[in-house]
């Protein structure tokens, strides 16, 4: 599915488009053709081989790891996916770098329209963000490479589309659309006046909230300045008035009881557990009575050793070291610890919204404040 052109999306030459298409094809091949074969190969060859030698199939994640990391098929697959990931960012990065001055100029002009952008150069960036470039994306979401930089945002907008081989939709917004729909169906009486999207990145999940709740004032916060500069220009290019600000989702600058709906999409799985718990407490502080927090992410972590091992692939190979924390949150206990009532916690499974071969266990969950 081709990506919808908008004023901030990079323009690419014939050959850049062709290289992108090859990388998306590599991703699709690895995830939709090879990944399912790994399970079959494990069941039919590797686990029986282990049983023959040790009297039982691998009974723990460590035993599965020992078997898999000695499998040339699995290691070849892993190298293919890791290599494709590095190639993806470098290929798109070359195209972004080539047109960066023009993109910055365009962003500055677009931003003069609707919405707002508030940056805070003095905001301390948590170590869990700066120590590891998530997704092996050079510079992560926070590194400025020039004045008024939009590089990270432009890179991510095109890159994530190729990563998902189009599966996030022409505007990379299908997860945000699902989040908004889940909130609407779960809380039909909710008519939010103010909405906050945490870890909004390029705004892929922020804009669908504005579309679903057209009467609301919509805000997005993120740690990364180059993401926010890009997001604000992209929102303006797509005709949405969104207020973006650079802030830490675990301790924002907003006063108590500022919002009726607070969301995040694919944010929690990039945060360590203490930060997630702080984020829940911050949601409780920021919500008005009757307000809702809704987080779109992993709902659980598999128990079965092979599934648990494969689920952890991104932890080791894609620089996502905290992924397990979001899958092993305690619901409702972790919400209760943040101030919510156990009776007000909700879960909406949304399997297959994204990379369904891998993420069978994703969905939207959160709580409503009394």
């Amino acid at each position: 599915m081709p990506q919808s052109q908008h004023a901030m999306l990079i323009e690419e030459t014939h050959d850049e488009r062709a290289r992108d298409a090859f990388i998306a094809s590599l991703r699709e091949y690895a995830m939709s053709e090879i990944y399912p074969q790994l399970r079959k190969h494990y069941d039919q060859v590797l686990a029986p081989g282990h049983a023959e030698r040790h009297g039982e199939p691998p009974a723990s994640v460590d035993r599965v790891r020992a078997v898999m990391e000695n499998s040339m098929f699995y290691m070849g697959y892993s190298l293919l996916v890791r290599g494709t990931q590095e190639l993806l960012w470098d290929t798109v990065g070359e195209a972004v770098e080539r047109q960066l001055p023009a993109l910055i100029e365009k962003a500055d002009a677009l931003r003069a329209g609707k919405g707002s952008l508030t940056l805070d150069a003095s905001l301390p960036l948590p170590n869990y963000t700066t120590a590891v470039d998530i997704h092996v994306m050079p510079g992560g979401f926070h590194t400025d490479i020039t004045e008024n930089d939009v590089f990270a945002g432009a890179l991510y907008d095109r890159g994530v589309h190729l990563f998902a081989y189009g599966g996030l939709g022409p505007l990379n917004d299908e997860l945000g659309v699902a989040t908004a729909a889940a909130v609407r169906s779960q809380f039909p009486d909710l008519a939010p006046g103010r909405i906050l999207d945490l870890g909004c990145g390029a705004g892929h999940a922020t804009l669908p909230l504005a579309a679903a709740f057209p009467a609301a004032e919509v805000h997005g916060v993120d740690l990364g300045a180059p993401m926010l500069r890009y997001a604000s220009a992209r929102a303006a290019a797509l005709g949405q008035a969104i207020h973006f600000s650079q802030d830490d989702a675990t301790r924002t600058k907003f006063p108590d009881a500022s919002f009726d709906l607070i969301t995040s999409t694919l944010l929690l799985h990039e945060m360590p557990r203490p930060a997630i718990l702080a984020l829940f407490r911050e949601c409780h502080r920021l919500l008005r009575p009757g307000g809702v927090m809704a987080h779109h992410d992993l709902l659980r972590w598999p128990d079965e050793p092979f599934d648990a091992f494969m689920m952890a692939w991104t932890t080791r190979h894609n620089n996502e070291p905290y992924e397990r924390a979001s899958g092993t949150l305690k619901f409702p206990a972790d919400c209760v610890a943040a101030g919510f009532d156990a009776a007000d916690v909700f879960v909406v499974a949304q399997p297959g919204a994204y990379l369904e071969e891998v993420y069978q266990v994703s969905g939207i969950r959160g709580a409503r404040k009394r």
């Binding site: 062709a18 081989g49 290691m75 070849g76 890791r82 290599g83 590095e86 050079p138």
Partner: protein, 108 residues
């Protein structure tokens, strides 16, 4: 902060895991992937030339850049990429045969 518009080309974080028998083998495979992306782009450029020629248009650089494949052409190109990936990755993705001890697994 400003680094003259130059992007970083390597990510911060833990060292790249080792996949094959040596990190040099891994590096060679990753170079082959990059090269394959360029070969695929070259194929598509040649395809664009041929399709312009079939339409009796000159394949001047501008015409190549402006060429927009139809859905049928895009599907044919996707199939060609898929077939090329299948050929290039065959050896990398070779499954162990049933009964074979996984490479490197210590004998009891």
């Amino acid at each position: 902060m400003a680094a003259g518009n130059k992007r970083r080309r390597f990510a911060n974080g833990p060292r790249r895991p080792k996949y094959l028998a040596s990190v040099d083998a891994d590096r060679a495979v990753m170079m082959i992937l990059a090269l394959a992306a360029d070969v695929s782009a070259l194929r598509e450029r040649l395809d664009t030339h041929e399709r312009l020629a079939a339409a009796e248009r000159l394949p001047a650089p501008d015409a190549v850049e402006r060429y927009a494949p139809t859905e049928a052409v895009a599907a044919a190109r996707a199939a060609a990429r898929r077939a090329m990936i299948d050929r290039v990755t065959r050896v990398l993705l070779e499954p162990e045969p049933a009964g074979a001890r996984a490479a490197g697994e210590a004998p009891e």
